[in-house]
Amino acid sequence: MREKKGIIITGAIVGLLSVLLVKFGNPVNMGICIACFIRDIAGALGLHRAEVVQYIRPEISGIVLGAFLTAFGMKEFSAKGGSSPLVRFVLGFIVMIGALMFLGCPLRMVLRIAGGDINALIGLAGFAAGIGVGIVFLNKGFSLKRTYSLAKFEGYVFPAVMAGLLVLLLAKPAFIFFSEKGPGAAHAAVLLSLAAGLIVGALAQRTRLCMVGGIRDLILFKDWYLISGFLAILATAMIGNLVIGKFSLGFADQPVAHADGLWNFLGMALAGWGSVLLGGCPLRQLILSAEGNIDSVMTVIGMTAGAAFAHNFSLAASANGPSPNGKTAVIIGFAVLLVVSYFNLEKTVEVKMKGDVELEA
């Protein structure tokens, strides 16, 4: 119970910070969105040229650096990798395609529900369905195999890149793109965004906050731990939205959203299934990356590539609804997930040994 208190407080703080970021400039119901913000960073770096979604979001750097410092301080930083890195890249790519069909990562889905966007409830139904499909494969022995220890230096690279992004944000060199209108132009002050990111990163590292894990553990183990964080975000963000007057119940005209129920459902189903195979939602992938998990770094790079593709080839949905290319991409995504799920089933899931086993130091 004491443990659960921690994640509930974390969820409450994440919910409040998200509302605060909206109050001070972030797009509505987008106080924090890992998928959207990685997409904005991809745009700022010129990896796609959608002019309305280009900005180096300091929240992302903050989350990674906050988690890195916390993990380091708690002696939980350890560089490792080798658990199907390229498959994880592909899964990250697909999760991003699904998220950009729905217009938000699982965390933003919660924030959208907290803002009264009923489309996001349909997204949640799809998300839970996708997680359910993933769990079927987990129970049949799905595994991306083991990680192995790597040189410490390997683990420092990703946090260093994130710090580098902050330098680019402050230096504003001419080759970095910044939106002049649209969601990319809507942002809170750099210091506020960075501070919020640092806090969220540190707390999420300590509590293992994860949107996918919440529903997964509830179904698999009847474990309420992770989903308590999810519910706390929902509750506090909803109260916060009511206070700042950003709560509006309905389907139509929701901020940075569309009302195509089928594709909201399918987009989040794709993201949910992919995330279960990865072992965590996009936020959790950032935290694991910060802790030295290079496989999660590969996932984040996959998400970045997915975001760039999504806008270069008109796969991302917009307020007008999904695009034909986007629908095709989501269907291809499901086919790829099925192949990945099937071919990574292990016949013997138990690796058992009798007697004592010494661990190497």
Partner: protein, 70 residues
């Protein structure tokens, strides 16, 4: 009595917990699980406590050996 041992080192969540769950279904009197990170340690401990097992945690090398008993 020697307990069956599961090596969950290097596996990402939720696999260590799933293996533990399958392990105790097969050996209800108890099992041992090797893990190499604190997340897996905490998750297995929570699962074990929720399913009525006591957990003894020993540091072993860079990881942990968890002993689950009724």
């Amino acid at each position: 009595m020697k307990l069956d041992q599961i090596d969950a080192r290097g596996l990402s969540c939720p696999q260590p917990v799933l293996l533990t769950k399958k392990g105790v279904e097969k050996n209800p009197e108890g099992i041992q699980v090797l893990v190499d990170n604190t997340t897996a340690r905490d998750n297995i401990t929570r699962f074990a406590n929720n399913s009525g097992y006591k957990v003894e945690t020993n540091t072993q090398g860079s990881g942990f050996l968890l002993t689950l008993k009724k």
